[in-house]
Point group: C2
Chain length 194, copies 2
């Protein structure tokens, strides 16, 4: 078996991300995790002494993933509008079958997360907003986007729509994230008049 795949720690993290997207941090148990990976619950504690440690590793994992994909998307889509839609599509791709965006789920559970996770999540969100803000600045400078005020303030709007959209799709599967972000990009387009 491929050692990269059979690595239990990585399997646990992957299963944890999946469960997080489905039921949230508070609602998945070591038992759920153990069943997926095929070990006993006690063995999980060997890799992650406490659930908080697992949660923290989870956020680290998400951060690494986000960073890795950023440059990739920038290179593939020079057009900012297309890039935003591609971001939405990338998230939508992983949110099929009743899954939501892990960052959104964690944020909804913010109050019940261990303090260390709260802080890590805060940083992760800041990084995401900074990233999208830079994209928006680029789009406005190129005349592709129209919005008032700072790019970081507008980035919150964009991120709101992406995050809530990933949530809305669970109760309302007919409302796709792509359509929602398309609507937003059109609203921010200087060309199209009402």
């Amino acid at each position: 078996m491929n050692p990269a795949i059979s690595n239990t720690r990585e399997q646990l993290l992957a299963a944890a991300v999946d469960l997080l997207q489905r039921v949230g941090y508070a609602s998945f148990s070591f038992r759920d995790l153990a069943e997926v990976v095929g070990i006993r619950t006690a063995s999980i504690h060997y890799h992650f002494p406490s659930k908080a440690d697992l949660g923290l590793a989870l956020i680290d994992f998400l951060r690494d993933y986000t960073r890795a994909r950023e440059r990739e998307m920038r290179d593939q889509h020079p057009d900012v509008c297309a890039r935003l839609l591609a971001l939405a599509d990338r998230i939508a791709e992983k949110c099929v079958d009743q899954r939501s965006c892990p960052m959104n789920i964690l944020q909804a559970e913010y109050a019940v997360l261990p303090p260390a996770m709260q802080q890590a999540l805060h940083t992760l969100i800041d990084e995401k907003l900074q990233l999208i803000g830079a994209w928006l600045d680029e789009g406005r400078a190129a005349g592709q986007l129209r919005f008032p005020g700072s790019a970081i303030a507008q980035a919150q709007l964009v991120w709101s729509v992406i995050e809530y959209g990933s949530q809305l799709a669970r109760s309302h599967p007919d409302r796709t994230l792509h359509a929602l972000v398309r609507q937003l990009v059109d609203t921010m387009s200087p060309a199209k008049s009402p």
Copy 2:
């Protein structure tokens, strides 16, 4: 004591809404509820046979509340932009001190809610989107707002920002919901150019 206030069922519902906003449906227990109201956990089952019954009553409560406030806001704010900001303020008012919007919390927990609650929540969200859509239509007809496509699609954007904003304020208290909705209204304003 005022019978309206001493009514245990209403006290339980009020406490449940508060706990829902703080920690979510899955993370509050009958014990938490009992401590707040000052009765034993077993007594709660007299008013709500199961937690799902309580959850369902909770959503009914939220729906009644929303409906009651709708006409009120429409009358107080003939200007649609001002009305949207007032809606944001009304939500922000109840989301102080680490509280988030109850509808948003419920939606984030969608997958772990009992089926009856899922359906009730679905309906509640539809009503909210319909309501905001009507406001937006009104604003566009009056030339106050500029946006492409259907009002219901745009209502999803507006609601996304309000809901995610109430969540973001927990981890990022400096980012107020009012400022976020102001940013959105400005983005949708036909007068202001980039």
